[in-house]
Amino acid sequence: MPTSSSLFADYRTLPGTWDELFTEKGAPRPAFRKAIDAIGARSGAEFATCQALAERALLNQGVTFSVYTDQRGTEKIFPFCLVPRMISGEDWAHLERGLAQRVTALERFLDDIYGEQLIFRDRAVPADLVLASKNWFPQLRGVRPHGGVRIHIAGIDLVRGPDGVFRVLEDNLRTPSGVSYVLENRIISKRVLPECVDAARVQPVDLYPSRLADALRSVSPVDPSETNAVVLTPGPYNSAYFEHSFLARTMGLELVQAADLFVERDQVHCRTTRGPRRVHVIYRRTDETFLDPEVFRPESLLGVPGIMRAWAKGNVTLANAPGNGVADDKAVYPFVPDIVRYYLGEEPLLEQLPTWVCARDEDRAFVLEHLPELVVKAVDEAGGYGMLMGPQASAAEIEEFRRRVAAEPRKYIAQRRLELSTCPTWVESRGRPEARRVDLRPYVLNGRDGPWVLPGGLTRVALVEGSYVVNSSQGGGSKDTWVLKPEAR
């Protein structure tokens, strides 16, 4: 049954692909019917006006990211599509449990491998593979962070296949970014589509900053009410600077740079107009290898000398804890279901993509034979770089990857290309919404009381027709993600 509304009247889903809002037959999914009717009541021209309004608001609010390659730090807005992505209350309840389970297990995993390493003794995952990770820091072994939490903030990337099942694509346990767009996008939706937000019964997201501040203070070395927590940024020319300042502002914390901090008697202090002031918790948005030149990069002028000593002594809490990268390594990813089973004695609630680990002989042989069908990823690259999209690649690119995989198998994993789900997305040039592929990054906070999942997340969308790459550096944009309140029974 085609929808009666004018905006989505000509909307077509892609064959063999799950669409987030519409069924294969082109009808609105029942859970979203009211919201889709409210949005679709606009004509194409009316919606175009709304979309333009939203873009101007984002620019005026300075919701921008800096482009690395430009010396002068040009700022751009993260392209935004006003058509929201929606998730039903029921689907969300499942994701929430699965995400909490996964983060809990990864937390236990990190604690173990930086501690006794029982998982290697019990041969539940191969030690050589884990310890060969470039993000494994043997010098941190034996340090247990104050408050016992390592993954204070996780961003878990999910994708949805043609069967409608959400699967984990990647874990981000170091400095996951993007949450500011989740909050800003919602502000825009409420401003431009107020009656739609209302009709859809959307769960609020604006409590995130206060939950984050609570989580950070809960693991402070001193009483939470006495705690001086700060946000540490590399500075205004960092691509995510907007977010750093956004989080500091919405949490009411000070935003500091490394040069504002110094360590004395293994305690961290901040330089102020009234002299030094002690710092207890640091939400760091700097790469861990630039945290402390004493530990990581002696040649680096960046960082705060001695900060790792202060951390190891429990005098300051670093969020996230240094060393987490080993658990979100793409080479460790295939073993996360085993990690869940080993530590929690439960079956994983979230599925993930079947993955071939090129370090293993059998897997490698299969990968080399099937390169044109597979997506090959370098384990230490992110942002969609260092990747072979087999089905779209030229013969030369495939040969290039054959050579690379054979030369350094540990560096690569492979998966089948997933038909990422689509969502109606506004296409300016055609004046109508068309199906574009999306992913989802929900955020999990973790304090003394255990994990909490933000009801929402960052939906990234590949704006280019036919594209599977959602990264902002490569033509991706974002959407507001509406998690609907559970139906009253």
Binding site: G62, L253, Q257, A259, R271, T273
Partner: protein, 326 residues
């Protein structure tokens, strides 16, 4: 507060005030040039000198360029290589705000960002070309509104005090420079009375002092009375003395003088000293000594900014880069 953040606040205030002041001076001078029938050079060269840009301007555009009001306005409004141009001042104010977005209120940031984006847009260029008066007025009122937004939406804590400290020190220096340079130029022109009165009225307008002056002095315009008004008037918010006293009061909020242990002692003593010194000159004032008073004010405010940089703003650190102080 964090020293680096205080530094950004201070410079945010200074650049904002500078953009406003430059727009006001250009607008008024343009009016004057139309009215007074003076040699354009006598009108426009002082404006370049007030901005401290005489050398760079002449090196770039030639000694004769100050005859051309359009080129002077172009240079002081748009020139990328001129750190005092309106566009550069707005960009610098906005850059400072961008570095401390968690400190300034959202409303402040949005208004400043919108002003900056507008100034860089073709719409602003078109307005400058087609309706110069509106352009300058818009810059002026936007900058003034921004100060109101700061006052009305931010906590009145150290961040706000540092912003206004920057505004007030910049303002004291600007008023002193504008008065000094024009006073000197007026004498050089040697115009007859009617023209001279027009010049002094323009000067008052350049300092937003026309109406306040008229309210207090009922239309009696003489060089001596105008100069006294701009230097000493305790009720006029742009007089040198008012600005310095208000700046000292801000600093007292940031650093209570009773607490001798706090950093910033020399800054405070010199700022307060300067304010008192200016006050003490009122009694035997005559316009012959004006230049000496104003030169001291300009030099000492710039020195005080330097001392403050060392004592309070962490200039030894990585941020001592804002060398555009006049």
């Amino acid at each position: 507060m964090i020293s680096r953040v205080a530094d950004h606040c201070f410079w945010l205030g200074r650049y904002l005030e500078r953009a406003e002041s430059t727009a006001r001076v250009l607008g008024v001078t343009r009016n004057l040039a139309l009215d007074a029938g003076l040699n354009p050079r006598h009108v426009w060269l002082p404006v370049i000198i007030v901005a401290g840009e005489e050398h760079r301007f002449q090196a770039r555009l030639g000694a004769g360029a100050a005859d051309d009001g359009e080129r002077v306005q172009e240079y002081l409004t748009w020139e990328d290589d001129n750190p005092c141009s309106i566009q550069r001042s707005l960009a610098a104010a906005r850059d400072n705000a961008r570095s401390i977005r968690e400190v300034v209120s959202l409303e402040t940031w949005e208004a400043l960002n919108a002003l900056y984006l507008w100034a860089g847009s073709p719409r602003a260029r078109a307005e400058w070309r087609d309706d110069r008066h509106s352009f300058y007025r818009r810059i002026r009122t936007s900058a003034q509104s921004l100060q109101g937004i700061v006052r009305g939406t931010m906590l009145h804590d150290d961040a706000l005090h540092f912003i206004f400290l920057g505004v007030l020190l910049e303002r004291a220096g600007q008023t002193a420079r504008i008065l000094d340079v024009h006073h000197h130029a007026f004498r050089a022109i040697g115009a007859h009375d009617v023209i001279e009165t027009a010049l002094w009225l323009a000067l008052l307008r350049a300092c937003s002092g026309f109406e306040p002056f008229m309210k207090l002095h009922r239309g009696r315009v003489s060089p001596d009375v105008v100069a006294r008004f701009l230097v000493f008037e305790p009720l006029f918010p742009r007089s040198v003395r008012f600005s310095l006293r208000a700046a000292a009061a801000r600093l007292e909020l940031i650093r209570p003088p009773a607490d001798a242990e706090l950093p910033g002692r020399e800054t405070y003593e010199r700022l307060r000293g300067l304010a008192m010194w200016v006050g003490s000159r009122q009694k035997d004032f005559d316009t012959a000594g004006l230049h000496e008073v104003l030169t001291h004010v300009v030099d000492e405010t710039s020195e005080i900014a330097g001392v403050m940089g060392r004592e309070l703003l962490g200039d030894a650190g990585a941020v001592a880069t804002q060398a555009q102080a006049q």
